[in-house]
């Protein structure tokens, strides 16, 4: 996975930090917030964090059919942030997006498939066309029960009839981010203890 992330010009640390930062805003939501807010807030702020990280490295903000993304310098890699279902970050489970997606995702999947086919059919001479843009989804799922956020960077390859992305040509699962984490164990040595002051008798009293 690391080599794939390297190839894309990304890092596990950068992706995890972006998710961790953005998800903090979701923790601030309550039952009094509108239902739609946590989802929008989470993906919106994670998108912001991804851009805060990558734009200084030469990536660009992009928007296709109202879908925000972050695109690398030569336009071949696009990152879109989305909430995933409980299978996010779990190998072998049926991963899907948490909400239905629209035409932008449909178009991105189409581009991804073209890119894949171009890779497969390497015997065919390449036409001088613009390099296909491959879209990766940065998916996150907040698992309250396990007190963790699971994250993966996966390439969507199919949407179902309801608009949920349900198939993936590649999944890169990151280490889960633990919240409410027991602080990394503090050993006795780490505490600042006062030296035991000497309490010295001035004189011996007769008893």
């Amino acid at each position: 996975m690391t080599s794939r992330l390297d190839e894309l010009g990304l890092s596990e640390r950068g992706l995890a930090d972006s998710v961790r930062w953005g998800v903090e805003f979701v923790f601030g939501c309550t039952l009094n917030d509108p239902d739609y807010l946590p989802g929008i807030l989470g993906s919106g702020k994670v998108t912001r964090a991804v851009r805060d990280w990558l734009v200084p490295l030469g990536w660009k903000r992009s928007k296709v059919l109202n879908q925000p993304s972050t695109v690398n310098r030569d336009g071949t890699v696009s990152i879109v942030v989305a909430g995933g279902n409980a299978a996010t970050g779990v190998i072998g489970e049926d991963l899907a997006t948490r909400s239905a997606k629209g035409p932008a995702t449909s178009q991105a999947i189409s581009n991804n498939l073209q890119g894949s086919l171009a890779d497969l059919d390497s015997s065919v001479p390449r036409l001088e066309i613009e390099a296909p843009r491959l879209t990766w989804m940065l998916l996150y799922f907040m698992d309250a029960e396990r007190e963790q956020i699971r994250v993966e960077l996966s390439m969507p390859s199919l949407m179902d009839a309801n608009g949920y992305v349900c198939q993936w040509s590649e999944r890169n699962i990151l280490a889960a981010i633990l919240f409410n984490q027991e602080p990394s164990g503090v050993t006795e040595d780490e505490y600042a203890e006062a030296p035991k002051p000497e309490v010295v008798r001035k004189r011996i009293e007769s008893v």
Binding site: N180, P183, A192, E198, V199, R203
Partner: protein, 362 residues
């Protein structure tokens, strides 16, 4: 008979009695009592005997020299507005007895020299960082806060009060800092109180009056920054944590969940909403007066060591009280919650874990 008038007033205040109260209990006029306290008249032996009985002090106490009390203006009380004059006087009278005990101890033991910085016009955050630097604590979580104060020359006593309104108070006397802690609060509360009073000693040492709410806020901010240094919190506190997360995390700094939430809010790590919800949830779970995931109570090293040596020399608590001419119960009050050892009979000798204090007789 000849008495020291100030001692009569002290014993009366320590009992929380007005002049009228005591006069009535003893069966003399208020005017007569006033005259005893100002030294204009001397009580008869019979009256003195009654007064001693009512006040619970041995008669010898009333014949001792004048005792120096804590300076009223210098003593820093939190929740001053909620304290009655009687409550305040009672606590200060206990402070006077503590000073007598402290002087008695210092005449027999070499104690650590005071090394508490006294700063001028410094904000609490900076003051806390300064003290940490002076004491070479870096950003590490603080161990036993009472040991830390004592190692730097602070004389720590227990508030001999069951008054929940008084958390702690502190003052300087002749270059020596004193702190009185209410040891009936939670252990986490006690640590925060110790750091709070240290803040007063460091920042408000010039005995300015009146001591207002602003001073209290500064001491609170100092305590928070002293126990939970900014870089330590930003590095290790769980971001976006709910109450359960705080309850786990607080043990790193040995503070209350509420204190950690406060610090994280100040440092921008909890939103206003999250901060409020922590308190709502604490109340809902019944932690208004107790503390979840509590820490062990902190004790005094110095008092434990002193009393241990005296006991080894055969001096009982009763004998110490007799030398000081105070009721044994007053002595108990001043060390209550700070010393684990039983003065007579078994039990731990030292203030901690049954380990013998490192003492030597010279």
């Amino acid at each position: 008979m000849v008495i020291t008038p100030s001692r009569l007033e002290l014993a009366r205040r320590r009992n929380g009695l007005t002049k009228n109260d005591l006069a009535r209990l003893v069966g003399v006029s208020t005017r007569a009592l006033l005259a005893y306290e100002t030294g204009e008249r001397r009580p008869s032996a019979e009256t003195m005997g009654k007064m001693a009985e009512v006040l619970g002090f041995p008669e010898a106490f009333f014949r001792g020299p004048d005792l120096e009390g804590p300076p009223v203006d210098a003593a820093s009380f939190r929740a001053l507005s909620r304290l009655t004059a009687g409550q305040r006087d009672r606590a200060l009278a206990a402070g006077t007895l503590a000073l007598a005990l402290s002087d008695w101890i210092e005449s027999r033991f070499e104690l650590p020299q005071p090394s508490v910085p006294r700063l001028r016009s410094v904000d609490p955050e900076t003051a806390a960082e300064y003290v940490r630097a002076e004491w070479s604590l870096a950003e590490r979580p603080l161990g036993n806060s009472i040991h830390m104060l004592e190692a730097h020359g602070v004389r720590v006593f227990s508030l001999a009060e069951e008054n929940a309104e008084i958390d702690a108070y502190s003052f300087w006397r002749s270059g020596v800092p004193y702190v009185f802690l209410n040891t009936q609060k939670t252990a986490e509360h006690g640590r925060m109180d110790a750091a709070h009073e240290l803040g007063h000693l460091v920042m408000h040492w010039r005995h300015e009056t009146p001591r207002g709410r602003e001073y209290e806020r500064e001491a609170e901010a100092f305590a928070s920054a002293f126990l939970m240094p900014r870089s330590s919190i930003t590095a290790a506190a769980p971001r976006g944590a709910n109450l359960d997360g705080l309850i786990k995390a607080k043990r790193r700094w040995n503070v209350s969940a509420a204190a950690l939430a406060y610090r994280m809010h100040v440092l921008g790590m909890l939103s206003d909403w999250q901060y409020r919800m922590v308190f709502v949830e604490l109340a809902r779970r019944g932690f208004s007066r107790s503390e979840p995931n509590p820490i062990q109570r902190e004790t005094s090293h110095v008092l434990g060591a002193v009393l241990g040596v005296l006991r080894d020399e055969g001096m009982t608590k009763q004998a110490i009280a007799q030398e000081l001419q105070v009721p044994e119960s007053e002595l108990d009050g001043l060390i209550f919650g700070l010393v684990l050892m039983g003065l007579e009979g078994g039990g731990n000798r030292s203030g901690r874990d049954g380990e013998r204090p490192d003492l030597r007789v010279v």
